[in-house]
């Protein structure tokens, strides 16, 4: 079962590497923020599964923080874009 958890964590990180291409190449800021938002979700899942693999309870809080505050990044970016502060 531990091996399955580690495999899932590595697979999610591989998906993040695909999204990183869009972050680097996105023509507008919105493209990059969309890809970053998806990446942070994948990162939260990967951290949670790595916590279950390594049996470290304290990493769970990292996953919880990532999933509850990563969307604030998207919200703040969209406020900046709407009010033309960039």
């Amino acid at each position: 079962m531990k091996g399955v958890y580690l495999a899932v964590a590595i697979a999610e990180v591989a998906v993040m590497a695909l999204l990183l291409i869009r972050v680097a190449a996105g023509p507008t800021i919105s493209d990059r923020v969309v890809a970053l938002n998806a990446m942070s979700t994948q990162a939260a899942i990967a951290v949670l599964f790595f916590a279950a693999y390594a049996d470290r309870t304290i990493y769970c809080d990292v996953a919880l923080w990532l999933s509850s505050f990563s969307y604030l990044g998207a919200i703040v970016w969209s406020r900046y874009l709407e009010r033309e502060l960039l």
Binding site: M1, V4, Y5, V8, A11, E12, V15, L18, L19, I21, R22, T28, S30, D31, V33, V34, A35, N37, A38, T41, Q42, A44, I45, L48, F49, A51, A52, T57, C60, A63, L64, S67, S68, Y71, A74, I75, W77, S78, R79, L81, E82, E84
Partner: protein, 114 residues
């Protein structure tokens, strides 16, 4: 038996995540990419988190955290997607040339017309 269920759920979720990532890479403009990313977060993340709940039990340390993360993603992700789409439209990010409908522009035209 539990391990088979965990593997199947994780594989389904990972397949959705991968197809969403390929969609974000391949789609032509930002609005279709936002659609891909929200599908990917909802359908890709939830089966994987449910796999952890099945594997560890709902009231264990990791299972309860996985349930909490799933609820947070369900609540928070549509808000972020809508805000991003609205900001992209307001800053004038161009649509794909093959797009056939722009209902916001239609409504603006109707309001300012005769």
């Amino acid at each position: 038996m539990t391990e088979i269920v965990v593997i199947v759920l994780a594989a389904v979720g990972w397949a959705f995540s991968l197809s969403g990532a390929v969609g974000i890479l391949r789609m032509p403009d930002v609005y279709t990419r936002i659609q891909c990313s929200s599908k990917m977060i909802t359908m890709g993340a939830l089966p994987v988190l449910i796999a952890l709940v099945v594997g560890e039990g709902a009231i264990s340390v990791f299972g309860s955290r996985a349930l909490l993360v799933a609820v947070l993603l369900l609540v928070v992700n549509p808000v972020a997607s809508h805000a991003l789409a609205r900001a992209a439209y307001k800053t004038g990010v161009p649509m794909w040339p093959g797009a056939v409908a722009d209902q916001v522009a239609d409504r603006m035209r109707r309001r300012s017309g005769p």
